[in-house]
Structure formats: structure tokens, C-alpha cells
């Protein structure tokens, strides 16, 4: 374990394991470029010609850019809402945990982590629809509510590590509590913001169950929901289907390729806290 000589045995084992991770993605990419005729041959073979016809068809059929827009919208709004409000709530709670009300609030919020979604699903669907929230805006707000428990949990943990002296100094300089939060605490929470933003964005982007029950109008469907909605029409045209799947996954994959160090770092930071 120690020493400078790399351990090749473990490296090779891990590389073989990595193949298992990459195999489904390899299949997705190659099948997305193939024609139905090529599907009868060796499934592992590379496509004979890298035709983008499947992608063009899928874009038109599933109205890809509309779904992409919806997914981006929901994810963005959710992340903005979460960063601005959850950090604020967590700050207020963390600084007042000695008071009964805030302590209660803290446990009240994080207890939601143990409440399975199905228990609130049926009434929630009725309620959101009654209030005209069965759209992507309502979805973003609900996302923020559903994420509150976990985010408050990790934000509070982080705020506790921020020394109070900084705030006290600012208050002596005449700042009020709002100013203290926005000027001092909020910027200091930056590493945690990254973690929260990544986890929230991934959850919102890939979510299926909540959009499935909340959204009524198919023009507001998010990317995963569109894949579900088109199952019947893809029927056996796997090339078309896989092109559509690939495009739905691609935005996240691209972001991941460029920001993987940052994303992995952010997630790991969240777990140590």
C-alpha cells in the first residue's frame, strides 16, 4: 500500500471493472448510430457508417429541444431556489439551535428524510393540481421542498463550523443580521453551495416520479419523462430509442466530463460533513 511503485494488479482489476461500467454506454452510443438492419448482427460491432439519421428523427419525434428546455428550466430554478433559501434557513437554525423552537424546526425538517414520497404523493397530486401548480414551475418549487431536509442537514453542519467571531465583528461595524448573512456567511458557504448545487441539480435533472405524477401537459415533460412517454412509439426501433436516450443523457455527461473533478470533490465534501 505504501511506496512509490504503482500497484498494477489493482489497477488492472479496476480497469476490468470499469469496462463493466462503460459497456452499457458503449452499446448505447453504437446502437444509436446503427440502422435496424445492423441490429441482427454482432451487437458489439461498431456501426458501419456513423449516420446521424436516428438523432434527427428522435429530435423531431420527441420534440427534444422543448424537453431539454424544460429540464434545464426545472433544474436551474430548483438550484437557485435551493441555494438562496436553504442556506438562509440553515443559518438561522444553526445559530439558534439552543432555542427550543429552532431545535424543533431542525428535527422537524430533517425528519422528512425518512418520509417516503408515496405517503404524500396521492394528496400532493390533488393539491398541486387544484392550485394550478401541475406545471414545471410547481415542479421546481416541490423539488425545493423535497430537498429541504437533506440540504438543511448538511448546511447546518457546515454553518456550525464557521466561527461566530466574524459575525460579531461585522455587527459591531453596524451590520444587521441580513447583511451579516449575505455579506459574510453566504460567501463563506461557497464550498457547501457547490455540493448542494451538484446534488440538487442531479436530483432534479434525473427525477422521474415527481414529474410523472405532477405534470399534466406533455409539452412540459422533462427529458426522462419524454423517454417514458415515447416507449410505445419507439416500440422496437431501438436505434431511434437509443439515440433519444443518448441525447437525454448527453448534457449531464458533457458537464461531467469537463467538471468531474469539481463534481466529485463537491459530493465527497458533502459526505465528510
Amino acid at each position: 500500500m505504501i511506496g512509490n511503485k504503482p500497484n498494477w494488479k489493482i489497477t488492472i482489476l479496476l480497469m476490468l471493472g470499469g469496462l463493466f461500467i462503460l459497456l452499457p454506454l458503449y452499446l448505447t452510443i453504437t446502437i444509436a448510430f446503427k440502422t435496424p438492419q445492423e441490429m441482427t448482427g454482432n451487437l458489439f460491432a461498431l456501426p458501419e457508417s456513423w449516420s446521424i439519421a436516428n438523432f434527427l428523427n428522435a429530435i423531431e419525434m420527441t420534440n427534444f429541444f422543448q424537453a431539454l428546455g424544460n429540464s434545464v428550466f426545472v433544474t436551474l430554478i430548483t438550484v437557485i431556489l435551493v441555494l438562496l433559501t436553504h442556506s438562509l434557513v440553515a443559518y438561522a437554525i444553526a445559530r439558534n439551535l439552543h432555542k427550543k423552537f429552532y431545535k424543533f424546526l431542525y428535527f422537524y425538517f430533517i425528519s422528512a428524510m425518512f418520509i417516503p414520497f408515496p405517503i404524500i404523493m396521492l394528496p400532493l397530486v390533488k393539491q398541486t393540481s387544484m392550485w394550478g401548480m401541475d406545471n414545471i414551475i410547481g415542479l421546481a418549487i416541490l423539488n425545493a421542498v423535497m430537498q429541504l431536509a437533506f440540504n438543511v442537514f448538511i448546511y447546518v453542519g457546515f454553518v456550525k463550523t464557521i466561527p461566530k467571531e466574524l459575525e460579531e465583528a461585522a455587527i459591531i461595524d453596524g451590520a444587521n443580521t441580513w447583511q451579516v448573512f449575505w455579506r459574510i456567511i453566504f460567501p463563506l458557504m461557497k464550498p457547501m453551495h457547490a455540493t448542494v448545487a451538484i446534488l440538487t441539480a442531479l436530483a432534479a435533472w434525473n427525477d422521474f416520479m415527481l414529474p410523472l405524477v405532477i405534470l399534466s401537459d406533455s409539452s412540459q415533460y422533462t427529458l426522462p419523462l419524454v423517454q417514458y412517454a415515447f416507449q410505445g412509439q419507439f416500440s422496437t426501433d431501438y436505434n431511434l430509442a437509443f439515440a433519444s436516450y443518448l441525447m437525454a443523457m448527453l448534457p449531464m455527461i458533457i458537464i461531467y466530463i469537463f467538471a468531474q473533478k469539481w463534481i466529485i470533490g463537491g459530493v465527497m465534501r458533502g459526505s465528510i460533513k
Binding site: 479496476l14 461500467i21 418520509i115 405517503i119 434525473n206 437525454a248 466529485i264
Partner: protein, 287 residues
């Protein structure tokens, strides 16, 4: 001044409190309320007392959903934790291409469970039987998702493939907190790698183990997306998870009230399991 500060803090939490109550607690209360009625989701309703609860316990479909969900969740939790701990130890060793390998193993986490499910469904339907035929492995030569005894394994495979990513990262975070000097000291004492794992590594990552077990178990107990994508609950109803049953029965079957009762039971079960797990695993940690 102090009053104003107190007021400001209150102002910071009250909107969130209101929203949270409205969209989380209030629906939960409604769900509990309706579980004592015969409400269909529309129209008129009456109180029926505990009838729904008693019916759940006699409902073969519900019981089999609980059975399947637990079997799936326990097996997946154990597998995910073993595999991700192994991978994490591997990634933490002195290896080549660490960054790339780490990035590869984390990749599944960023993908949609539903879409991954569809991709695996294709593999189970078309790829695996081809391989099974070629190698002459009988049980592989047909789609395992169509076999009531094996379909759940297909779902486990997808769950493990995907969830290992996140748990590996948590273990890596745990391993990175271990001071290398501890190992050096152990080396001097002549400890083997097996002993080092059980005596040093495992106790030190134990808190992460606890959290991972609880979190993974809870997520698997709520399985929905991968089942919709892979089997839709079939063949028969053998892979119908509790979430799927509540969704299907609650809306399609007009069993709003009945499935609400089911959901309440489900909630109690999840809380109980989480508490038991925390207790048991924490006690072990102290040892």
C-alpha cells in the same frame, strides 16, 4: 436590537416553514386522514375506521410487494456496500490512472435511473440471451426479466450498477480521512493486509458504513424508476415494489384511501428499519 435580530431570524425560517408544511406535512396529514375513509380520489367518501389497514394485511398483492421490496432492498444494500467498499479501497491504493478510474466509477451516478433501466432492459432482452446461447448457459438463453424467479436479479443488477457509484465515493471520502501513519505502524508490527483491513480500515470507515447502509437501504425500499423501466412490476406481480403498487393502485385502481393506508404502513416500516439499523450498526461501531 436583540428583538430585531430575533425577528430577523424568524423571518428567515418562516417562509420555508410555511412552504414545507403546505407541500410536505399537510399532504402527509391528508394521506393519514384519508386512510381511514373509503375515498376513491374523487366523489363522496365515508369513514371506514381501520378497515383499510386490516385489508392491507390480508392483501396478497400488497404482501408480495413488501416481500419483493425487502428482498430486493436487502440484497442490493449488501451488494452495493461490499462492492463499493472494495472499489474504494482499490481506488485508494497506489494505482495508475486514479483520476480516470475514479471518474469512470462515479459516472453512473449522474445518469437517469429510468434511462439506465431502459438500456439494461435491452441488454437483458437481446444481448444476454445471445451470450447465453453462445455459451450454452441454459438460464441465460432467455430474458431473465421474463422469468419470475430471476427478474428481481435483473433489477438488483441495475440498482447495484448505478448505486455503487455514490457509495464508492462516500467510502473514498472515509478512507481519505485515515492517516497513512497508522498503516505504517501496522506494517512495522508485521500485520497482513487482511488484518489491516479488519483492524484498521474497517473500524475507521465504520461511521460511513453505517450511513451508507441506512441511506442505501432507504433508497432501495423506495425503488420505482428502475422497476418501471425494466419490468413494470412483472412478470405477474413478482417485481411490483411498494411505491409502484401505491402509484398504480392509488390512481388507476381508484384505491386512493386504501393505498394511503398502505403508504402509512410503509412509512412506519421505513422509520422502524432506519432506527433499528442505526442502533445496531452504531453499537457495533463503539465496539
Amino acid at each position: 436590537m436583540v428583538n430585531r435580530k430575533r425577528f430577523t431570524f424568524l423571518l428567515m425560517v418562516v417562509p420555508a416553514l410555511v412552504l414545507f408544511f403546505t407541500f410536505h406535512t399537510y399532504p402527509a396529514i391528508q394521506g393519514i386522514f384519508y386512510s381511514f375513509t373509503d375515498y376513491k380520489g374523487y366523489g363522496v367518501w365515508d369513514f371506514v375506521g381501520l378497515k383499510n389497514y386490516l385489508n392491507v394485511f390480508q392483501d396478497g398483492r400488497a404482501l408480495s410487494a413488501y416481500g419483493f421490496t425487502f428482498q430486493f432492498a436487502i440484497v442490493s444494500t449488501v451488494l452495493v456496500n461490499i462492492i463499493s467498499l472494495l472499489i474504494a479501497i482499490g481506488l485508494n491504493a497506489n494505482i495508475k490512472f486514479r483520476k480516470t478510474l475514479r471518474a469512470t466509477y462515479f459516472l453512473p451516478y449522474i445518469l437517469s435511473v429510468l434511462i439506465v433501466g431502459y438500456i439494461f432492459k435491452f441488454m437483458f432482452t437481446h444481448l444476454l440471451p445471445q451470450i447465453g446461447d453462445a455459451l450454452g448457459i441454459g438460464f441465460l438463453s432467455s430474458n431473465i426479466l421474463g422469468n419470475p424467479d430471476l427478474a428481481w436479479i435483473g433489477i438488483v443488477i441495475v440498482a447495484v450498477w448505478q448505486s455503487t457509484a455514490f457509495n464508492t465515493l462516500l467510502y473514498l471520502a472515509g478512507l481519505s480521512t485515515i492517516d497513512q501513519q497508522v498503516y505504517e505502524a501496522a506494517d512495522i508490527d508485521g500485520a497482513g493486509s487482511w488484518a489491516k483491513f479488519w483492524k484498521i480500515t474497517f473500524p475507521l470507515v465504520a461511521p460511513f458504513f453505517t450511513i451508507n447502509m441506512v441511506v442505501a437501504m432507504k433508497n432501495f425500499l423506495m425503488a420505482f424508476d428502475q422497476i418501471v423501466a425494466l419490468t413494470g412490476g412483472g412478470p405477474g406481480q413478482v417485481t411490483e415494489s411498494i411505491s409502484l403498487l401505491i402509484y398504480r393502485g392509488g390512481f388507476q385502481g381508484g384505491e386512493f384511501a386504501y393505498q394511503s393506508a398502505n403508504a402509512v404502513i410503509y412509512f412506519i416500516v421505513i422509520v422502524a428499519i432506519s432506527i433499528i439499523q442505526l442502533r445496531v450498526l452504531e453499537r457495533r461501531e463503539v465496539k
